[in-house]
């Protein structure tokens, strides 16, 4: 039972990271109806920016961990958001009136550009960092000596995710931008006629999605202690699976889907086989799309002729 609880904690932490990435997919799909294939690589860029910022801060003599974390968080969110904006501006905006598959193919190209850019710029080898946040709590210790651990990193990941989600939900539900976004989601032409700057709203959607992906990248770096240029691909597909599982276009659904995928992956690794954990995640994508195409919280798509 203790083993189960330990896996539950690990799964929830992994799930929050997936959930943060999944929000970017689901927002973009909701507003422009395309799968932003490069989003996984935006997450990877976020991880790299966090790593480099961390290294610079440490080398200039900053030692107070909370300040380091805060600066790294802000810098990586800002820079990665700029990446998201640039990608939209270069690769997606000119294609808005193009045929349906064009943005998808362009996004695949952009994904190659981003991952190979960071390979060229930062080298192909895995970049490890020493653990930044150490320590933790033992929640329960069984007679057999197995202890359920809750490490401080895990607490930081979950708390950051919850705080950011609260801010994000407020942004979408209460602000002018959120209203514009929801309006564009329903009908872009109508929104434009009523004075909503559609281009800017779509840009902002990409910017926010990228900022959240940057947070996920930084959490990944803190939790696993490494980044590499290829990590965006698999994480991206899993996060997309999470978005589909939760119902694409639905923001709470993305988070829920992320948690579900994190839990499934962790339990699969713990009880079945580690080698096939990615296979399990990809199979879920296929199964969900066949049996539950609208996801857990999604609305059914009406087929218009």
């Amino acid at each position: 039972m203790d083993y189960f609880f330990q896996q539950l904690i690990n799964g929830l932490v992994l799930g929050s990271i997936y959930g943060l990435i999944a929000i970017g997919y689901t927002m973009v799909y909701g507003i422009v109806g395309m799968i932003n294939f490069a989003h996984g690589d935006i997450f990877m860029i976020g991880g790299f920016i966090a790593l480099i910022t961390f290294l610079v801060l440490v080398s200039i003599g900053l030692t107070f961990v909370p300040v380091i974390l805060l600066v790294v968080l802000l810098v990586s969110m800002a820079v990665t958001a700029l990446y998201g904006w640039t990608v939209e501006r270069i690769a997606y905006r000119p294609l808005r009136q193009s045929f349906r598959l064009a943005p998808m193919l362009s996004a695949i190209g952009m994904s190659f550009v981003l991952s190979n850019f960071s390979q060229v710029a930062q080298g192909a080898r895995v970049k490890p960092i020493p653990p930044v946040i150490t320590g933790g709590y033992t929640l329960h210790e069984s007679a057999a000596g197995f202890a359920v651990q809750l490490s401080n990193v895990q607490i930081v990941v979950v708390v950051t995710t919850v705080v950011l989600l609260a801010i994000f939900t407020w942004l979408v539900a209460r602000t002018r931008f959120g209203r514009d976004m929801r309006a564009c989601e329903q009908d872009q032409t109508m929104a434009a006629l009523l004075g909503v700057d559609v281009d800017r709203t779509i840009s902002m959607t990409f910017v926010i999605g990228a900022a959240l992906a940057a947070v996920a990248g930084m959490m990944y770096l803190l939790y696993y202690g490494l980044v590499d240029f290829f990590m965006g691909f698999v994480a991206g597909i899993k996060a997309f699976t999470a978005a589909v599982l939760g119902g694409i276009g639905s923001l709470p659904g993305a988070m829920l889907g992320g948690l579900a995928i994190g839990l499934i992956e962790t339990f699969w690794s713990a009880y079945c086989s580690v080698e096939y954990k990615d296979v399990a995640a990809f199979s879920i994508l296929i199964i969900v799309l066949i049996f539950l195409p609208t996801g857990l919280l999604g609305r059914p798509e009406v087929e218009k002729v």
Binding site: I35, I45, F48, I49, L51, I52, L55, V56, S59, V75, V79, L82, T86, I90, A91, P94, L95, Q97, S98, F99, R100, L101, A102, M104, L105, S106, I108, G109, M110, S111, F112, V113, S115, N116, F117, S118, Q119, V120, A121, Q122, R125, K127, P128, I129, T189, I237, F240, T241, V244, Y276, D278, V279, F282, S283, L285, I286, L289, I290, P293, V305
Partner: protein, 463 residues
């Protein structure tokens, strides 16, 4: 949207130097923000595992300057060419000329391909390159059935290539399992038939059929999916196949792959230096080039077979159903076409050719491992089909030649290759979303006249 779009260059008198300069400065500023950390600082794991870094501000300055100058140049070009549109890049007259030339181009290319082993007999490198190009031509034509004709975006095509390659490698290694009705037992026993020199010729169709079977297996679950969703599921399917191959070590050797795959024979006659080899039987001195020439003609024949079948299928009811489905699935269903069989047959046909190509790949290399079947390979084949204009047979062949030839030209710049490849894909979608020789005429017309429909005018169906 039918809103009249104002001509931007006349609406805004912005061709002033100040505007261009401001825009370039802004681009340079964005570039500075983007690259200052990623390029300005280089990290690497040091000798003791500790992460170290050094600065590269020179490179950073060079890149920012390049963005500044490039931005000015692009803006000047844009104002010189007028508003961007697909038609300004390749004028309609040239497109027409191309379609006339293409009638002569295809036979010319075929003759050239047939003569390659004769002309370049002494240049092994070129022969090898030719074989590689033809493999991708074949893969492109196979995927074209799925993407170009049936309009189903398949991002996991490499899975069928892998199935074909592994089917051939494993069956050649273990022998073909034949279920035999044994008289001694009331059960069916399985006997492994070793195929010897005929292995390739027996297993080539078997690999194709197995790949087609997997195509149908993939097709069933995705019958109801469209567009983007279909693309992602096929991608997941391709990854699942690769991961299973990678992890099922007992059967596939995992990351070590399978080596010692039997080489092809000329209908039973091996191409080796022994007395029973082809050279020995003909009484000529043995040369390893013989095998290359043989492989070249083999893949040429396989590719032409793919092309011929695809062209013939287009004229059959099933091919027309594919094209109808590509243009509008709902209308197609309303007309009573069975979408299930139409989709499954497209997947199976495309997969079968992928399987043939895979078996050829395995026999050519003599060694296969999961590394050859990554998503990049799928994307490359898809890029060939897209560049070739989705549906045009000649376009795909030219695109394969350009892509693979281009990759070879930049072989020295290995690490920039995929970077450029991705960038080209993005630019292609922006400038020529219909491919460079985009030409997608429906095969059937109501009236006798065959007006060629330029790709610029064809709107995508909801495929």
């Amino acid at each position: 949207m039918a809103l009249p779009v104002a001509d931007r260059s006349t609406a805004k008198p912005t061709s002033t130097f100040g505007f261009i300069f401001k825009k370039a400065a802004l681009s340079a500023l964005v570039a500075l923000a983007l690259f200052s950390l990623m390029i300005g600082i280089r990290t690497e794991a040091g000798p003791s595992g500790q992460l170290i870094y050094w600065t590269r501000f020179g490179d950073l300055a060079a890149i920012v300057a390049a963005v500044f100058v490039g931005s000015i140049l692009i803006e000047l070009l844009r104002q010189w060419l007028g508003p961007a549109g697909t038609r300004t890049i390749v004028p309609p007259r040239i497109t027409e000329g191309l379609s006339v030339a293409s009638r002569f181009l295809a036979p010319a290319l075929l003759v050239f391909a047939l003569l390659v082993p004769v002309t370049f007999y002494n240049q092994r490198y070129l022969l090898d390159l030719g074989i590689l190009v033809l493999t991708y031509v074949m893969l492109g034509w196979g995927l074209n059935v799925v993407v170009g004709l049936a309009g189903l975006l398949d991002l996991g095509y490499v899975a069928f290539y892998a199935v074909g390659a592994y089917s051939y490698a494993l069956l050649a290694q273990y022998g073909l399992p034949l279920p035999l009705l044994s008289t001694a037992y009331p059960f069916i026993t399985v006997e492994h038939l070793q195929l010897g020199p005929w292995a390739f010729w027996v297993l080539l169709p078997v690999s194709g059929l197995l790949a087609a079977l997997w195509g149908v297996l993939l097709g069933f679950p995705v019958l109801r999916l469209r567009g983007d969703y279909l693309a992602i599921v096929t991608l997941a399917f391709g990854e699942i196949i690769r991961l299973v191959i990678l992890n099922w070590q007992d059967l596939t050797g995992g990351p070590n792959g399978i080596s010692g795959i039997p080489r092809p024979t000329l209908f039973g006659i091996p191409l080796n230096p022994g007395p029973h080899g082809l050279a020995g039987m003909l009484g000529i001195p043995f040369s390893p080039t013989h095998r290359l020439v043989f492989l070249f003609y083999l893949i040429l024949a396989l590719a032409l077979l793919t092309n011929w079948v695809a062209i013939r299928l287009r004229r059959l009811p099933i091919g027309r159903a594919w094209e109808a489905m590509r243009e509008d699935e709902v209308a197609c269903r309303a007309l009573g076409i069975n979408i299930t069989t139409t989709k499954l047959s497209a997947f199976a046909t495309g997969a079968m050719f992928g399987g043939f190509a895979g078996a050829f790949f395995a026999t050519r290399q003599g060694f296969i491992s999961p590394e050859s079947f990554t998503f990049q390979e799928s994307a490359l084949v898809l890029a060939i089909v897209v560049l070739g204009g989705m549906g045009s047979q000649l376009g795909v062949a030219l695109a394969a030649l350009t892509m693979i030839g281009g990759f070879e030209l930049f072989r020295g710049l290995e690490q920039y290759r995929m970077l450029v490849f991705g960038g080209v894909m993005v630019l292609l979608m922006i400038w020529r979303p219909r491919g460079l020789v985009g030409h997608r005429a429906p095969s059937v017309f109501l009236h006798r006249e065959r007006t060629s429909i330029s790709s610029d005018m064809v709107k995508e169906g909801r495929g």
